[in-house]
């Protein structure tokens, strides 16, 4: 009986050890400089219009490749979902509406202010500042590295950036500078390198 228990404990310990090993040893180790290069790629996507337009520091979202203030005076609201009568979902449905030119996706809403990637003059924050936000679990919604990667892989509103729908004139919205698989790979490489941030 005692032997059985000890065996159980040993196996448990192995599992625990291999979990932490999983976190640190599962990904191929990257050098810090490679990690910084990967981060710049991630940053280039985060600050492209399809992403940064909803990561504002202000009371409003932006729209368009020129990132102008969203029309009709729509505002953030207490939960980033707009205000009564003018919610995000008042217009943005659960999928793109190409026939009417309105983009859509599941749970359309603004990123919280803690995840702002611009300053209050609508200028993108520096690579260093955005990196620090992303790696600060008090700001990023409590995501650790694994969860962050999963977010970039699977979150519907993230995926939307690569399927952003058409405007009313039929033109497709411009895509981020990397493909989604490239974006995920770059995220992974950055994480492998220990999520280094530029100074």
């Amino acid at each position: 009986m005692v032997r059985g228990l000890l065996l159980l404990l040993f196996v448990g310990a192995c599992i625990v050890m291999s979990r932490s090993a999983f976190s640190s040893n599962h990904f191929k180790r990257q050098s810090k400089s490679d990690g910084l290069v990967a981060w710049q790629q991630v940053y280039s996507v985060l600050t492209s219009p399809r992403c940064i337009n909803c990561h504002t520091a202000t009371n409003y979202p932006q729209q368009g490749d020129d990132r102008h203030r969203h029309f009709a005076n729509v505002i953030r609201g207490p939960e980033g979902k707009g205000v009564p009568a003018l919610n995000c979902v008042s217009c943005h449905q659960s999928a793109n509406a190409d026939s009417t030119g309105v983009p859509g996706g599941h749970n359309w809403h603004l990123a919280p202010l803690s995840m702002r990637w611009q300053d209050e003059d609508d200028q993108p924050l520096s690579s260093a500042v955005v990196c620090r936000s992303l790696t600060d679990r008090t700001k990023n919604g409590g995501l650790n590295a694994e969860a962050l990667l999963k977010h970039h892989e699977e979150e519907p509103l993230v995926l939307w950036a690569w399927n952003p729908g058409r405007r009313q004139d039929g033109a497709t919205r411009t895509l981020p500078p990397l493909t989604h698989p490239e974006f995920v790979t770059a995220t992974r490489q950055w994480i492998d390198a220990g999520m280094p941030c530029p100074r």
């Binding site: 029309f71 009709a72 005076n73 039929g170």
Partner: protein
């Protein structure tokens, strides 16, 4: 809206010298139903201005009708519904109440007289022994009879030549705040606008228009368009200038899908590709040279003798403006070969009925012309060249036998519309030693929507090559300036233009009132006092509104830090108004905290309407200063397609607080739809000067 100043009295004061009023048959305007409802035909399209309530009020008051039983209907096109002074059926120039006040009073009084006479005959008593109230005739000895029980017999009577009108002290409705007759229906979705029309067999047409005005169709490929199920026809037809391709389908969305799939090769050669920047540069050059004479007074060289230090030289720029009524343009026509029917939210039914007849090769009487409610107009539906009905008739002619509703999408009207023209003004003001303007040289440059059109009113409005409608506000300035040299140029530009709510006052009052305030500031005088001192002695309505403003805007001496006040006054068709606007700057934009407005419109027939027109007119007038309030052209193409790029004021842009004060008056009523529009923009920039130190002479206010 267009003001048609023919050689007929349009001012209230002149009305006394008018030819004897025509006798209008009550039965063309009033129908008393057996159930007691009284249906009044209103000879003016309701575009929001409130005539649909005010005109019936006037009639019902004289008639002693039970107001709760009154229903108003839009009269169709017919001779009997023509404006009594102007001689055409129309809405424009803020003339409805002014010109139809006596008409509707007499109609009501005549109807009452005939009803009383009928009752008196029945009872074998004298009419003087009877009195009326609330749709009932009362006779001696407790007799009474309802109007509805007299109506049929009364209608057979000869219409009396003379009729006694009420003493104003007896008015029960006129002068009282009365809620709109069309109010409830507009709140529950039941009210029908032109675009809501649904008649049996109706088809819908959308039109692919040239991207540059006056462009023509060279060829088109409709294969994919016709493949959309529900498409009936695709064809080219002529526009007033150029040509377009119509898509006719069962429903709007089908027509839109088909039009989106239409491929048109446009011939854009040999036509002007208008460009706002280029035009402004050209206009500014032109403004340095004198044009056709609008007004000369005193010594035109006086300005040259005044030293530069005592002069203000100012250049003003005003862009094209879109009317952009909330209801997009639409109308319907059915052509049956020997007759036609039209459903139009028409400001000019007389002309439009004739235009349809002309296109279809019919006599005017063969066109049944129904007038429908309009969701706003601001002049957009007052078509000098009748282009909308001409297009609809051409489409109906091709489709033949079925009604076709032609709809303009928002983009269609914004990109291929008719606009308030752009203007440049150049003014040189010579200031006397007392701080008052001594000499005023002023050149106005901008298109005329009348000149060269050949319409009847051109001969009246255009003198010396100057269109009165482009210089009003300057040519009829209420201020005494001894030496005035006012001229104008009207370039021909390939951009269609039209009357726009407050017409010439919209830009001329801006120029005048910003300069007035600058002069007052220079003279270190209170701006209201400065204006009062300068007013011509005959400008008694201006005097009244400025004096009342002085009293009602007493808050102006107790402004919080960071707030400033600006003033302006203007007029339209004998209604004068003035305002004080309190502003501060919030997030780099002007924030208007309150506006106090005073108005002299003679007797205010419906104070609720007057207040709403003034609150609304001020909100509308703010469009001129909104950062994206303008229409601009680049290489022939309008740059704005919808409200996202051409953005009028939303609720946060308009002041929450607009108090309106009417000068008490028993003078004949004058119109209020347009008077308020010009005053807010100059008041705003006048206030802004105190906040930023800048004089804003170029609209819109893109940045401060």
């Amino acid at each position: 809206m267009v003001s048609l100043y023919l050689d007929l009295p349009t001012s209230a004061q002149e009305a006394g010298q008018a030819p004897p009023a025509k006798i209008y048959p009550p039965d063309a305007f009033i129908h008393i139903r057996p159930d007691g409802k009284i249906v009044v035909q209103v000879n003016r399209v309701e575009v929001g201005q409130g005539t649909h309530t005010a005109l019936p009020m006037i009639l019902a008051d004289e008639m002693d009708a039970d107001w709760s039983q009154v229903i108003a209907e839009l009269a169709p096109a017919a001779d009997v519904y023509k404006d009594p002074l102007i001689g055409v059926q129309w809405v424009g120039g803020s003339t409805a109440i002014a010109n139809s006040f006596p008409q509707y009073r007499e109609l009501g009084a005549r109807a009452r007289s005939m009803l009383v006479q009928t009752a008196a005959d029945r009872w074998r008593v004298k009419p003087e022994q009877c009195h009326t109230a609330s749709s009932i005739v009362y006779g001696p000895g407790n007799r009474s009879v309802r109007y509805s029980d007299l109506a049929t017999e009364a209608a057979r009577r000869t219409i009396p030549d003379k009729v006694a009108l009420k003493n104003p002290s007896e008015f029960k409705l006129i002068g009282k705040p009365v809620r709109r007759l069309d109010g409830r229906a507009k709140c529950d979705g039941s009210h029908k606008f032109a675009i809501d029309l649904d008649v049996p067999g109706m088809l819908t047409a959308l039109v692919a228009r040239p991207p540059v005005f006056s462009g023509k169709v060279r060829s088109f490929d409709d294969k994919e368009a016709r493949a959309v199920p529900g498409v009936r026809d695709v064809f080219e037809y002529p526009l007033v200038k150029g040509s377009a391709v119509a898509v006719v389908a069962d429903k709007f969305w089908i027509a839109k899908q088909a039009r989106d799939r239409l491929k048109v090769d446009w011939d854009l050669d040999g036509i002007e590709h208008a460009d706002s920047s280029r035009l402004f540069a050209q206009y500014k050059e032109l403004a340095k040279t004198p044009g056709g004479v609008a007004l000369k007074r005193g010594d035109e060289k006086a300005i040259d003798r005044i030293p530069e230090s005592q002069q203000i030289v100012a250049e003003f720029e005003f862009p094209y403006l879109a009317h952009a009524p909330m209801e997009p343009l639409s109308l319907a026509v059915r052509f049956d070969g020997d007759r036609a029917e039209a459903w139009v939210p028409a400001q000019l039914p007389t002309w439009e009925q004739m235009a349809i007849a002309e296109v279809l090769g019919l006599a005017t009487e063969q066109v049944k012309f129904n007038v429908l409610f309009a969701g706003g107009s601001f002049g957009r539906r007052g078509l000098v060249d009748s282009h909308l009905v001409r297009e609809a008739a051409a489409i109906a002619k091709r489709v033949r036998g079925r009604p076709v509703k032609l709809i303009f999408t928002r983009e269609d009207d914004m990109r291929s519309g008719y606009y308030r023209p752009m203007f440049v003004h150049r003014v040189e003001v010579g200031i006397g030693s007392d701080g008052a303007p001594l000499a005023w040289r002023h050149v106005v440059v901008g298109q005329s929507f009348v000149k060269g059109t050949g319409v009847a009113m051109e001969a009246v409005l255009v003198k010396n090559g100057v269109d009165k409608l482009a210089v009003e506000g300057s040519s009829d300035s209420p201020y005494d300036i001894p030496n005035v040299d006012l001229t104008a140029h009207h370039p021909t530009v390939n951009v269609p233009v039209l009357s726009h709510r407050s017409v010439g006052y919209g830009h001329n009052s801006f120029v005048r009132e910003t300069l007035m305030e600058e002069l007052a500031d220079r003279a270190k005088t209170d701006p209201i006092g400065y204006r009062l001192k300068l007013l011509n002695k005959d400008a008694y309505k201006f005097r009244a509104v400025l004096t009342l403003l002085n009293e009602k805007a007493s808050w102006r001496t107790r402004l919080p830090a960071g707030h400033a006040v600006g003033y302006a006054c203007s007029e339209y068709n004998n209604t004068a108004c003035a305002c004080a606007a309190e502003l501060s700057i919030v997030n780099g934009r002007p924030k208007i905290h309150r506006v106090t407005v005073t108005v002299h419109c003679g007797l205010a027939v419906n104070p609720l309407t007057v207040e709403s027109q003034f609150q609304g007119g001020i909100g509308f007038g703010l469009t001129q200063v909104m950062p994206r309030g303008a229409i601009t052209l680049k290489e022939g193409r309008v740059e704005q397609g919808n409200f996202d790029r051409c953005t009028p004021p939303y609720i946060a842009d308009a002041p929450a607080d607009i108090d309106v004060h009417v000068v008490q008056s028993t003078e004949p009523p004058t119109g209020v739809g347009e008077a308020p529009v010009p005053i807010i923009a100059p008041a705003v920039v006048n206030a802004l000067f105190h906040l930023t130190g800048k004089r804003y002479r170029s609209l819109p206010l893109v940045e401060l």
